[in-house]
Symmetry: C2
Subunit: 344 residues, 2 copies
C-alpha cells in the first residue's frame, strides 16, 4: 500500500517479459492465449496490484463504458423524494447492477447531454425532461435511448395507456348525475407555480405528455356521461408534492358551488386533497369523491383508501433497463389496474 506503483498495461507487459498484446488478451480475449499463460499473467497482475486495463482509455478506444445515464425529468433532488420515481429507479438499478453496469444520474434540468454523452453507452430517460433543450438534444443523440412515459421517434419506449387509464379512473367516480368535477393536473403547463389552466395557455407540444393524455381520458369520460366541464376547474400543479398539491386543493375546495368530484393526476395529489378535505370537514366520499393515479403504498393504506390506477413502476424500470441492454428499439406498453378504494 505504500510503494503503490502506477501500473499500465505496457509497464506490466515489460515487467512480466511478455508482449502487451498478450496482457491485453489475457484480460479481454481469453481465446487468444493458452489457459495456463492467461492464469499466470492474471495472477501476477493481481499480486503486483494491476487491476486491469484503464477503463477510461478502454472507453476512448472501444467507445463503450458499461455506464448508462438515467435521465431524470427534474433535478436529482426531486427524484429521490418521489415514491413513484424511486420505485422506477429500483427496477432499473436491479437489472443494470445485475449485469455489471453502472448508473449515472443525470438531472433533467441541464441544457444538454454534453457533460456525459461521451462517458456513457446510452440513456434511459424517465419522463419527458423538464428542460426542452435537453428534450431536443435527446432526439439527435447517436447513442441508444430508451424513453419512459413519453416517446421519441425511432427509440425504444415504455408506456402505459394513460388516456384509457384516466378514463377508467374518472368513470368510476362519475356516477352521480350532478357531478361537479375539478381536475388537479400534474404539470399541464411548463411553469413552477400552481395555477388554473385555460384553453388558451395549453401548449401545443403537450400532446405527447402524460398529463395531456390523462386529461384527454378524463374529458372523454365526462363527455360520455354528458357532463359539462368548467374550464376554470382545471389546475396545473408543477410537481407531485404535498406543498403544491395542497395549494391547488385549497383553491378547488373553497369554491362555491364546491366540486364534489376531484380527479387527481397522482396519488400524492389525491392524498393532499384528502387532508385538505378533512381539515375543512368535508366528508369523503359522501360529499366529495377523490380518485388518484399511480397506486402508491400510502394511498392504498390510507383510510379511507384511495381509488387509483395502479401502475407497476418497478416493472417499468426493469423493462426499460432490459430494452436498453438489448439495444432494442421496440415500443412496449405495460398494463395497469384500477384499484377501487373507499374514496369514491
Amino acid at each position: 500500500m505504500s510503494e503503490e506503483k502506477k501500473w499500465t498495461l505496457k509497464s506490466i507487459a515489460l515487467h512480466l517479459g511478455v508482449s502487451n498484446a498478450t496482457v491485453s488478451n489475457a484480460f479481454n480475449r481469453p481465446d487468444q492465449l493458452s489457459k495456463d499463460k492467461r492464469q499466470q499473467i492474471l495472477k501476477a497482475c493481481e499480486e503486483l496490484g494491476y487491476f486491469g486495463p484503464n477503463k477510461a482509455a478502454q472507453s476512448l478506444r472501444k467507445g463503450t463504458s458499461n455506464i448508462v445515464a438515467l435521465v431524470l425529468p427534474d433535478s436529482v433532488e426531486y427524484m429521490v423524494s418521489d415514491p413513484v420515481a424511486s420505485s422506477f429507479m429500483r427496477g432499473v438499478a436491479g437489472i443494470i447492477e445485475e449485469r455489471g453496469n453502472n448508473i449515472l444520474l443525470f438531472s433533467g434540468t441541464q441544457d444538454n447531454l454534453n457533460n456525459v454523452v461521451d462517458f456513457v453507452d446510452g440513456f434511459i430517460c424517465y419522463g419527458r425532461p423538464r428542460n426542452l433543450n435537453l428534450f431536443a438534444h435527446l432526439s439527435s443523440v447517436t447513442k441508444p435511448v430508451v424513453t419512459v412515459d413519453f416517446d421519441l421517434p425511432n427509440r425504444a419506449s415504455v408506456n402505459i395507456d394513460n388516456t384509457q387509464a384516466a378514463y377508467d379512473a374518472a368513470s368510476s367516480a362519475l356516477t352521480q348525475p350532478q357531478a361537479q368535477v375539478a381536475i388537479l393536473g400534474l404539470r399541464l403547463l411548463d411553469t413552477n407555480v400552481v395555477c388554473r389552466v385555460y384553453d388558451e395557455n395549453l401548449p401545443e407540444d403537450l400532446g405527447t405528455s402524460i398529463a395531456h393524455q390523462r386529461l384527454a381520458g378524463y374529458q372523454r369520460a365526462l363527455r360520455e356521461k354528458h357532463l359539462t366541464f368548467l374550464p376554470e376547474l382545471l389546475w396545473s400543479i408543477p410537481e407531485s408534492s404535498e406543498k403544491y398539491a395542497t395549494i391547488a386543493a385549497q383553491e378547488a375546495l373553497s369554491l362555491t358551488p364546491r366540486p364534489n368530484v376531484l380527479l387527481c393526476m397522482s396519488d400524492l395529489i389525491a392524498l393532499a386533497a384528502m387532508r385538505v378535505a378533512k381539515s375543512k370537514g368535508i366528508r369523503v366520499p359522501e360529499e366529495l369523491k377523490i380518485v388518484g393515479f399511480d397506486g402508491i403504498q400510502e394511498a392504498l393504506l390510507h383510510s379511507p383508501s384511495i381509488t387509483t390506477i395502479q401502475q407497476n413502476s418497478v416493472e417499468k424500470g426493469k423493462t426499460a433497463a432490459l430494452l436498453f441492454l438489448e439495444r432494442s428499439t421496440q415500443k412496449v406498453q405495460l398494463g395497469y389496474k384500477l384499484i377501487q378504494g373507499q374514496s369514491n
Copy 2:
C-alpha cells in the same frame, strides 16, 4: 439531423482553417486568444454541430471528469427505499448538481471499484460498504474519498456522535427502576437474517460501525442506571425495513417477562415495533416505551409520536459534497437533537 458529420477537434480546426490548439483554447482557455476569435470559433462550432471536445478523451488526457461516484452501503435498489438514505442523497445531489458535476451511483455490494475508478474524480461513501473487499479497496484508492457515518485514515469524513446520541436516547427512556430493556440493533452482524446477538459472535471489526457505537451508548446508559442487560435481548436486523424489523419486534414482545423498553437503532424499526405492539394490544408508552433513531418525518407525525434522535441527513449530504469538492481531508462532526415524543 440527417447529414450529421461526426466532428472532432482536429476536423473542426481543419474545416475552420485554424490550428487545433486554437480550437482547444477557445473551449478551455479563453485567455489564450482574443474575444473575437473565440466567439467566432464557438459560433461556427455550434452551427456545425460540434459541441466541444470529447469528454472521454479529455478525461483520459487530464485525468478528471467532473463525475463523482456515490458509493452506497448496499445495492442501489435498497438505497432508494430508505428515507434516511434518500435525504442524504438529496443533500449530495443539490450541491454536486449546482457545481455542474454529475453523480455515478455505485453499489456497495460490488467487490472493488475497478469498474468506475478510472471514470470518476473520487468517491463519496455513505455508510461502510457491506462488501468488505470493497471497504478495503476504498482505503487504498489514490483518488479523493469522503466517508460518511464511518471513518478511514487520512480521509475526509462526516459523522455524528452516535455513542452520545444513543446514550441520550436511552437515558430518556430509562426512567423506571424496573426497566426491562430489549435492543433492536441495525446490522450488528454481517448476515442477511434477523437473529439474536450473543457476545461471542459480535465481530471485532464492528468497533467502527455506527451500530456498534450506538450499542455502546445504550450500554453506558444502562450501566449508569444500574440496570443489568440480558444478552439474549439484543437483536441484529439486517436492514432498516419493515419486514425484518417486524420479525425482531415480534420475537422481543413475545417473551415472558416482556420487555418494557425497546431501544431501536432506526425509526423504521421503531415504527414497526409500534405496529407490532398495537397488534398485540400493548399500550405505548404505559406498558412499553419505544425510542428510535434518525428523526424521519413519519416517526414525528406518527401517533403517538416517537422519541428519537434527529439527525439532519440533507445537511450531511451537503457537507460531504462540499468536503469532496474542496478536496478536503477534514473530519467533520455534525450535531443531532433529541426529540422527545410520546412513545416514552
